[in-house]
């Protein structure tokens, strides 16, 4: 993975982690049995997967993503991934893109609003 792609994936990690954080806050506010935890966990797992695509040497910390809407943060992550998930890209990126695209769909069905 070249440096530019790695940097983009690091940005995706930050976007996903921020989105997950927001959904967990909403889930905690709901209390026990909140259905939002499914989405929050899904975003966490996507962020984990994205993190594991990167080598140890790549710095993940960077500017915190702007925005307080999980769905739009997820869409931004999806758009970034579409830019780098070219035909020649590693399978991991394609798998991650599919996962994030599903999360965008889930976030837009109302459970995470």
């Amino acid at each position: 993975m070249d440096a530019e792609t790695s940097e983009t994936v690091a940005g995706v990690v930050r976007l996903l982690r921020r989105a997950a954080e927001l959904v967990w806050v909403a889930s905690d506010t709901d209390g026990a049995g909140s259905p939002r935890q499914l989405l929050a966990l899904g975003i966490d797992l996507a962020a984990d997967e994205a993190r594991n695509l990167l080598a140890d040497a790549i710095r993940i910390d960077g500017p915190a993503p702007v925005g307080s809407e999980p769905a739009s943060l997820l869409r931004s992550a999806e758009q970034l991934l579409r830019r780098i998930a070219t035909r020649e890209a590693a399978d991991g990126l394609h798998g991650l893109l599919a996962r994030v695209a599903n999360l965008v769909w889930e976030a837009n069905t109302g459970v995470s609003d």
Binding site: D28, G31, A32, G33, S34, P35, Q37, L38, A40, L41, G42, D44, L45, D48, E49, R51, N52, D56, R59, I60, D61, T109, G110, V111
Partner: protein, 504 residues
């Protein structure tokens, strides 16, 4: 195969072992079962620590034999029940090796003898199954009988160990009371910590016993024509079994705090799902309303405790933290299975939707089983909090956390923390990663204790959903174990799995 599938002719009588052991696999397994029953009958308090120390090796040898037994060609089982038990046994073994109660010491003669028989049986199986496959129905049935016998041995031995542990705790409590009354020196009395530790191990053996029972007695199908036939694993059941095994594996290998966060969140989700499906089962008339009234608050408390645990471990993560890829994969499958079964476009599925999608009584029983396993996982999380040598955390948040926990401890009489500062100004300024201060570690342990307590309550509340008369709620309290006398030493086996008689 004929030379190793012979059955013994009677129960309870061990065949004397000659210098050249000529026992068949069937006879060896029968001896194991008889020894396990003797273990139960002789389950005195003084044997309990040795039995705990022997447990991991016994389960490991049973798992090796289980693996060596050839599988039927059309085996539809979605997960390996013995693997589930093996990881629990390994976790208990790691805990003992790490110095937790009962610590190092002698092992138990009976359990070691059972292990020797299992080892011998494995050698026989490996020697004779090399050139033959279980093609006939009769052979397949006998292999199934061997598996049942093996599982039954572990089931009885786990029960025997729990009984011995119960007696051990009673003895400790009696000695503690007597010592206090007679004002014996503190060093000569048992400690409250030892009693708590032994109770914790009882809970783990009770959980083990129930997992073995669930396989042995099966989850009966809702179809009356298939009563007492083990239903094929559904996607959710397979996902839960795979998750539990992976959770143990990840926790066994110096986990990253990110692993603990994910693990706790998944456990919280499983607990939520248990609540949703149990309520649906009640709505559809499968479960008594009184059970739900007891179970729902207990599940909510357990879920909240797991979520608090996740948040606290999250404080130990940093941007570079990684989650074990195998854990991610197992968690993803649990999430996908729950999502497919229990949700619709707007949130949780309605009770009617759930009833249409799954066999509610059996699914609820599987989730109850998962809850039993969750208690043991919580013990392993606790051990991780106690023992993990490499826990580090960002100085700012963990400094505040350590201070908060220290103040709580000081209020409760702890004097060691008075006047201690947990971070240096330089560490705070640079937000350095620093080794976890003791009070912060103590906070993680307390949270694990809270998960154990709340999940135990949920297991107890759900006991009436159990698949078998013989499985019980996890009982680690003094009162229930005092009551284990003759009744607790009686074990039966399922009708369908009674050996058919000699075939030699």
């Amino acid at each position: 195969m004929a030379c190793w599938h012979a059955w013994r002719t009677s129960y309870g009588k061990r065949t004397p072992v000659s210098p050249t052991d000529r026992r068949t696999v069937g006879e060896l397994l029968a001896d194991c079962d008889a020894l396990a029953r003797e273990t139960l009958l002789d389950a005195t308090f003084d044997r309990a620590p040795a039995m705990v120390r022997s447990w991991n090796q016994l389960v490991g040898l049973a798992a090796e034999l289980w693996t060596a037994l050839p599988s039927a060609p059309d085996n539809r089982s979605g997960s390996d029940p013995m693997e589930r038990l093996r990881v629990v046994g390994e976790a208990i073994g790691r805990s003992v090796r790490a110095g937790h109660w009962p610590g190092q010491g002698p092992t138990d003669e009976h359990l070691t003898q059972i292990g020797d028989n299992l080892s011998r049986a494995r050698h026989l199986v490996e020697r004779h199954s090399r050139n033959s496959q279980p093609t006939t129905l009769e052979t397949q049935a006998q292999l199934q009988e061997f598996r049942s016998e093996l599982m039954h041995t572990l089931y009885v031995a786990a029960h025997g160990t729990a009984v011995a542990l119960g007696a051990y705790v009673t003895d400790l409590q009696d000695r503690l009371r007597t010592g206090t009354r007679r004002r014996q020196p503190l060093a000569e009395r048992p400690t409250a910590l030892e009693i708590t530790s032994a109770r914790g191990i009882i809970a783990r053996f009770d959980g083990f016993e129930q997992l073995a029972a669930a396989h042995l007695f099966g989850i009966t199908s809702a179809n009356p024509d298939q009563t007492r036939v083990t239903a094929p694993f559904t996607r959710l059941e397979s996902a839960l079994a795979a998750w539990e095994i992976q959770a143990y594996r990840t926790l066994a290998d110096r986990p990253d705090p990110a692993d603990l966060v994910r693990l706790a969140r998944v456990q919280a989700l499983i607990t939520s799902t248990t609540g949703i499906l149990t309520e649906a089962a009640a709505t559809n008339g499968h479960i008594d309303g009184a059970v739900i009234r007891r179970l729902t608050p207990a599940l909510e408390a357990s879920e909240a405790a797991w979520n608090r645990t996740a948040k606290r471990w999250a404080e130990l993560t940093n941007p570079a933290s990684r989650t074990d890829p195998s854990l991610i994969s197992a968690a993803s499958e649990v999430r996908a299975a729950i999502s497919a079964i229990a949700t619709n476009r707007t949130g949780w599925a309605t009770p009617d939707q759930l009833a249409a999608r799954v066999d509610l009584p059996n699914t609820v029983k599987s989730l109850h089983l998962s809850m039993i396993a969750a208690v043991d996982i919580a013990y392993v999380v606790r051990d991780t909090a106690v023992d993990h040598p490499g826990l580090i955390a960002p100085a700012r948040i963990i400094g505040m956390r350590a201070q908060g926990e220290a103040e709580l401890a000081i209020e409760q009489g702890e004097t060691r923390y008075e006047g201690v500062t947990w971070t240096t100004p330089h560490q705070i300024a640079a937000n350095q990663l620093i080794p976890l201060p003791e009070p912060a570690r103590r906070g993680l342990i307390n949270l694990a204790d809270s998960v154990i307590a709340t999940t135990n309550r949920a297991v107890a509340a759900a006991a009436q959903l159990d698949t078998s008369r013989l499985t019980r709620s996890i009982r680690s309290d003094h009162a229930t174990h005092r009551g284990r006398s003759f009744e607790s030493r009686q074990m039966t086996r399922p009708q369908s799995q009674t050996p058919k008689g000699p075939c030699r």
